[in-house]
Amino acid sequence: MYNKNTVLYFPFIFILLISTHGFSQKKGVISGGLESNFNFFLSDTLIGATNIPQYDNLLYGAESWLNLRYTYATWEMGVRFDMFNNSNLRNPTKTYTEEGIGNWYIKKKIKNLEITAGHFYDQIASGTIFRAYEQRALFIDNAIYGLRLKYDISKNWNIKAFTGRQKIDFETYPAVLRGANIEGFIRLGKDEKIISIAPGFGFVNRTHDKKTITKLVNTIKNYIPDEQVSPTYNTWLATAYTTVNYGMFTLYFEGSYKSPEIFFDPVAIKTEFNGSKVAGKYKKDAGTVFYTSMGFVKSKLGITAEYKRTENFDFRTDPTLVLNYGLVNFIPPMNRLNTYTLTARYSPATQLLSEQAYQFDVRYAFNRKLSLNVNYSNITNLENELLYNEIFTELVYRNGRKFKLVTGLQHQIYNQPVYEKEGSESVVAYTPYIDILYKLSRYQSINFEAQYMSTKQDYGSWINLFAEYSIAPHWGFEASAMYNIYPGERSPKDKDDKPQSILYPSLGITYTNGSNRFGLRYVKQVEGVVCSGGVCRLEPAFSGMKFSVSSRF
């Protein structure tokens, strides 16, 4: 844990340095940003927005992040104030109140060497062995609190190394993480026959503390002898990767390996001492990830193909952690990133222990006005059980700058029992959609979206309508309605236990003034899975008002 009292001094050092340099000839630059959400909870038992402290008693919750970054010559330093007041962001069914310095760092460049001390975000290759990142909507802040050194060996080659511990809330996990990464750029050939290669190699090590090992030993010593596995303090991961560009072709390949370590497999069968069987046990195995993508671009045509295979790659700062906690690495998702409310309703979370997936994406521009995108993705586990399948089509028509139409159809098969432990069968959904943007004048525009999801599973079929009227550069007015037109098994029930058709309306207004943006929304939101970048979590229904403020300076 880092000492909260010590880091409280950091803003004062920060201000002192700024004011000292402010009087000198060369002036530094301060930049930053504010992001704040204020939620006012209005209980609605019908949709299930109830029975948490925010609805029952507290009625209000807020989250806020204020970043400050100061650069002066070869110095850079940053500090971030984080605040959570009765927030349900950390745990959607609980309240969380804490505030303090959520992030600070000092960075200095000395010739070819860059030194960073404090919190830092970084990743190696695509993140399969290491990724420290922030995803506020999911309460993920996996910053490393430690030291990072980066050295430019030459113009095209650099090496970095780090050591530290992963951040959790305003503290750190006990395990020590260290790693190194070397990557470069090679150019071969001349004129039109140039091949560029960007190879890299990285490794990461995690060392447990004694308490974690004791916890694992205490569990495993109760396993029957045949199923006992011995934990290790150290786990090693390595990755080798390269990007090759040749003319219109791009190839990326990455292969990652994790040394045998203890991890929890929720579907492995454990034999109890009395012979009975239960699901879930700690196993010790090596892990692998192979990921490759191939791209081809020629004037109007763009094709991308991707393949990924993951086996036993759940790598956490502590193997006893669950959900999104303590993940050290990030395995990229292998499905299209959808943005409309209904096309994004079923999004598959990356499976860390057993997954095999491929994806094709073809884009073709018929002319300047008309283009087509077709995406196909398929995800199974290593036993070939289908987890997710999606066909997505998107036709875009533009008529000058005044009119834009996006339309298409999505077909999904989503293995809800595996992804959410809900439902008795996979969700099969067909979702046509249309999105029209029309500019009434230089300053005014109207945006209209409509989606219809047809499915017999889960909540049944939905219709979603969204309309937005914008008066640039300041005002935006929006209204949306999501209606459970043919309710399904999981829809809220009436007194006779019959599923009900419920309307989830939202109304919003935004005001933008330069880099300041204010938003006020009345929201009724259905329970669902919220995913961001392949990481998902179950989000309960919401009912209430949301006020947001964001600013950049």
């Binding site: 609980k94 030459s154 070397i182 030993v217 569990t219 929890f264 952690l321 669950v322």
Partner: protein, 278 residues
């Protein structure tokens, strides 16, 4: 340039050096010698597909540790414990809901072990069940600081129960302490949801919290308990009559000592479970 590359290659080798470590030997299991029992408050529900697995793990722990495990299965949360279409009974109770609010389980199933806040857990209740074993081991390694015993007398004609609980601290203990007494029932047959939403109608529920004789957060024992003091508390309760429920032969009495200091929960000092009819 060539020398530089060699230098950085050597640096990589240095960083990745010392790859071998001394093997950790898993010690042989030895039955615990402590007399401190562990109160296990399991949060479960008839709609929770993972809960039967948790219940099986808990049952195995009871078999393994005997009287040292004092389980209470609390069916709470509208999401997980609302009766299914095939359910005959509603296992939710007011006291169970209050205990859920007090201990705030995040995931289902989860279980609190003597209400200890374990490291790297968001809440007092521990989840997933794979961590229950290590939580029990950690608690069993702790010293027992309180003696507790419970005797009861049941009149089958009036269905009246007389309970006498004796508590004696084995050391001076600071804090404010309360005694909780609960009734649980075994062998209730009803519907439970399993994976893929399969409902098994003849599932056997055990240790189901039926009622609390004391308030849900206990009745006051006293503050700053002195070593050697003897506290005796008596309770009376009449078993309700209900078809297929409140079967005297399946009823358990559970007593446990909770504590708090400066408004923070202290771990449960000790617990005891007795079958109403031995």
């Amino acid at each position: 340039m060539y020398r530089k590359n060699i230098l950085f290659f050597l640096l990589l080798v240095l960083i990745s050096a010392s790859c071998t470590e001394k093997e950790i030997v898993i010690p042989e299991y030895k039955p615990p010698t402590t007399k401190k029992a562990i109160l296990v408050e399991e949060f479960t529900g008839v709609r929770c597909t993972n809960c039967p697995n948790g219940a099986e793990i808990l049952k195995n722990m009871e078999e393994k540790y005997g009287d040292l495990i004092v389980p209470i299965s609390i069916h709470s949360s509208d999401t997980w414990a609302t009766p299914t279409k095939s359910s005959k009974y509603d296992f939710r109770t007011d006291d169970g809901n209050k205990l859920m609010d007090l201990l705030s389980p995040l995931l289902y199933p989860s279980a609190s072990f003597n209400r200890v806040f374990f490291e790297n857990q968001d809440e007092i209740p521990v989840s997933p069940p794979s961590l229950w074993q290590s939580s029990i081991e950690e608690e069993l390694a702790k010293e027992n600081v309180t003696f507790i015993d419970m005797i009861s007398d049941y009149n089958p004609d009036t269905r009246e129960i007389n309970i006498k609980i004796t508590i004696s601290p084995l050391t001076d203990i600071e804090g404010d302490f309360k005694l909780s007494v609960a009734l649980t029932e075994d062998k209730i047959i009803d519907a439970q949801t399993f994976e893929h939403n399969i409902i098994k109608k003849d599932y056997e529920f055990n240790n189901v919290l039926k009622d609390m004789i004391t308030p849900y957060d206990g009745t006051l024992l006293g503050s700053n308990l002195a070593k050697g003091a003897k506290i005796v508390k008596s309770f009376k309760y009449t078993l309700p009559t209900s078809k297929n429920l409140w079967v005297a032969e399946n009823i358990n009495l559970v007593a446990f000592i909770t504590g708090s200091k400066d408004n923070a929960l202290l771990p449960v000092l000790n617990a005891v479970k007795k079958h109403l009819i031995e």
